[in-house]
């Protein structure tokens, strides 16, 4: 569905690369996660794949179309949800979706059904300008499904949403991807990546550091961490240490010897911890 070879991008052609020589492939039906901290180049990559940013180098094919060529009809197969919501504030929720549906040449979904799906029922006739940030975000998300896309781009789909709504959104994504939609998902939230993605790419400073399935990553890096809770000067402190690292091993011994250890167990690494181990940096 997506094939990217040696893609780089510089916003102002000033030699500063927002993404640097990245390559990856996304298979049909796969949910591919782009996991990385803010500013690592995720949205930039989505921008090029969706044709919003002009491709400068490399070879990219999306849904069978070369992105160097302008072929608008490819968007009949593609759905895009944006990190920053972008709906007409002067139009109602329903009008926003109705108008958008008319731009496609393929059968589209019922606007009201989509509005219901993202939990905005009753707000059909309210202008998007009166919506909260989260509501606008959900409307933007709902809109990305209007043409039943085969390939679905989701940029930070749950960021800024409260947990119950985020759970609804995750369910919708799971359902669609289970029924065969290919999904390119961008996030700095490791839970999302872990729960929804068949494979994840770790991206940092515009470079892909590794691509694998969450399961393999955890097998490879999991069970090798020890989490110790102990009291130091009356305060409870938590430390996560590698059981295979010599320095960490002696640190564990040190803690046991000097402090009042509350709990201590080995655990499966989260994607975030793996991310830190691999890149040396956190996702925040």
């Amino acid at each position: 569905m997506i094939s990217v070879k040696n893609l780089s991008h510089s916003y102002n052609n000033d030699g500063i690369l927002a993404i640097n020589n990245i390559s990856f492939d996304v298979a049909k039906g796969e949910t591919f996660g782009f996991l990385g901290p803010s500013g690592s180049g995720k949205s930039t990559t989505q921008g090029i794949l969706t044709g919003l940013l002009k491709q400068q180098t490399g070879k990219v094919s999306v849904a069978g179309y070369d992105t160097m060529k302008v072929q608008n009809e490819r968007f009949n197969k593609i759905g895009v949800s944006f990190e920053q919501s972008n709906v007409y504030s002067k139009l109602t929720a329903r009008e926003n979706l109705k108008f958008y549906a008319k731009l496609f040449d393929v059968p589209t979904r019922d606007p009201d059904e989509l509005i219901r799906l993202v939990g905005l029922e009753g707000k059909e006739k309210v202008r998007a300008g009166e919506f909260s940030k989260g509501m606008k975000h959900r409307l933007t998300f709902a809109r990305s499904m209007i043409n039943n896309p085969e390939l679905w781009f989701l940029d930070e789909p749950t960021t800024g949403l409260d947990p119950t709504i985020a759970a609804t959104i995750k369910d919708i994504i799971r359902e669609r991807t289970a029924s065969g939609t290919t999904c390119f998902l961008t996030t700095h939230n490791m839970y999302i990546a872990d729960e929804l993605c068949d494979r994840v790419a770790f991206i940092i400073d515009g470079e892909i550091v590794l691509i694998d399935t969450p399961k393999k990553l955890k097998l490879q890096y999991g069970q090798k961490l020890a989490e110790i809770e102990y009291f130091k000067d009356g305060k409870l402190i938590t430390e996560t240490l590698k059981t295979i690292d010599n320095a960490d091993k002696s640190r564990i011994a040190d803690i046991i010897k000097n402090y009042d250890v509350q709990t201590m167990h080995t655990k499966e690494a989260t994607l975030e911890e793996i991310f830190i181990q691999v890149t040396g940096r956190g996702l925040a």
């Binding site: 919003l52 968007f75 895009v80 504030s89 002067k90 009008e95 008319k102 731009l103 040449d105 809109r143």
Partner: protein, 399 residues
């Protein structure tokens, strides 16, 4: 279809925003000023250059009563210094083009003042010259009305001819015409002799009254200048909301998006122009011609607006440039009111031809050729600029 749904959406948005109402409110204010504050009084021609094609005795015979009753007063003769110029005259009747070359010269003219007998006010000053060529040369270098008045007597000493070829010195040289018009200040004479003469009655089309003559100014102002600013305002409103990005990931083209914006401008301009024109002009103008000219010129102007906007990324930055362009485009309005200020370069301004075109249409559309030619120029120019804007905006709108 996509263009239509785009247009419907844009109209909804426009109707819920305030730019739309600004333009309508301005139109209502303008028409109120025109109707209540500006009189319908004719614009004085001030200066007229006349050549009487008649024997002196006959001229005296016809004119003496007027000199006696004080309507006409003879003044000292004057000499006009005129520059060398070439003039092409198109005979409206035969289509024949006659070229004239004039050298630098000083032309002597008899000065006659004409007074309104009722009010006693000076109506205009007539400069009587000795040849058709002098009349033509003077009328064009002074940018004033010029005419040939012809009188003849039949064997019974009745006046058989009383008509004028007339020209308006401020028409563009290219499209200037000699019009055969019955001199309509004397309708009785006209009636009596018109059967015998090979003359065409063109009615009182040659003059707009005070109030009417303001209409082309406002049509030009609203249709184009408001068009430029508002199309850009709409565009940047969308850019602020980032909706252009969402549009760019659909199968619809940016082309239809941009054109739907122009269609909104055309719609609002139609509304505001109708608000101004109908109460002032009534059924006099040919509204089909008016709409054609309005649409073509506004399309070209909005395309210019879109093109300009492609150099900026928000309204604040674009405003300075737009303001500058608008001020420059206003220059031909001076020439409209001050006929003697009419440098050649001003004629390349689109607003110049718009003013002339609207005036022509409001006069009754006698110079259809002018209207059609400029409509065509606006259309072609507009398409080219729109295409350029399209190419540029495709790159900058979605960043």
């Amino acid at each position: 279809m996509k263009l239509l749904s785009n247009y419907i959406k844009e109209m909804k948005i426009a109707a819920r925003g305030f730019y739309f109402y600004i333009e309508i409110v301005i139109a209502v204010i303008i028409v109120s000023i025109l109707l209540f504050a500006i009189s319908e009084e004719s614009v004085s021609r001030e200066k007229e250059f006349l050549f009487y094609e008649a024997e002196q005795e006959l001229y005296d015979y016809i004119m003496d009563p007027y000199f006696k009753d004080g309507r006409l007063v003879r003044k000292e003769s004057v000499g006009f210094k005129v520059k060398a110029m070439d003039i092409e005259v198109v005979d409206q009747e035969t289509g024949e083009i006659i070229s004239h070359h004039f050298d630098e010269n000083t032309i002597a003219a008899e000065t006659i003042e004409q007074y309104d007998t009722k009010t006693g006010k000076l109506d205009k000053t007539i400069y009587k010259v000795n040849s058709y060529e002098d009349m033509l040369h003077l009328s064009y270098s002074e940018q004033s009305f010029g005419a040939v008045v012809k009188y003849e007597l039949d064997e019974n000493y009745k006046i058989i001819d009383s008509y004028k070829y007339y020209i308006q010195g401020y028409e563009t040289e290219r499209f200037m015409n000699i019009l055969y018009v019955l001199y309509n200040e004397n309708p009785e004479v006209l009636k009596e002799y018109s059967d015998k003469q090979n003359v065409r009655v063109l009615g009182d089309m040659e003059k707009l009254n005070n109030r009417e003559s303001m209409v082309p100014i406002f049509l030009t102002f609203l249709g184009s200048i408001m068009g430029i600013v508002i199309v850009v305002a709409y565009l940047f409103l969308d850019k602020n909301e980032r909706v252009i990005k969402s549009f760019a990931v659909t199968p619809a083209s940016i082309n239809s998006y941009l054109f739907s914006k122009i269609m909104v401008i055309l719609t609002t301009v139609t509304i505001s122009s109708v608000i101004i024109t109908i109460p002032v002009m009534g059924t006099k103008p040919d509204y089909l011609q008016l709409l054609l000219f309005l649409y073509m010129s506004t399309f070209a102007m909005s395309a210019i607006g879109l093109f300009l906007s492609s150099f900026f990324d928000n309204m604040t930055n674009a405003f300075g440039a737009l303001f500058g362009v608008v001020l420059i485009l206003l220059l031909p309005m001076f020439s409209y009111f001050i006929p003697s200020f009419d440098p050649l370069w001003l004629r390349f301004f689109p607003t110049y031809s718009m003013l002339q075109g609207y005036k022509t249409i409001l006069l009754g559309g006698i110079e259809l050729r002018y209207v059609l030619l400029y409509s065509f120029i606006y259309l072609i120019g507009g398409i080219i600029i729109f295409a350029l804007a399209n190419v540029r905006l495709r790159k900058t709108l979605t960043v």
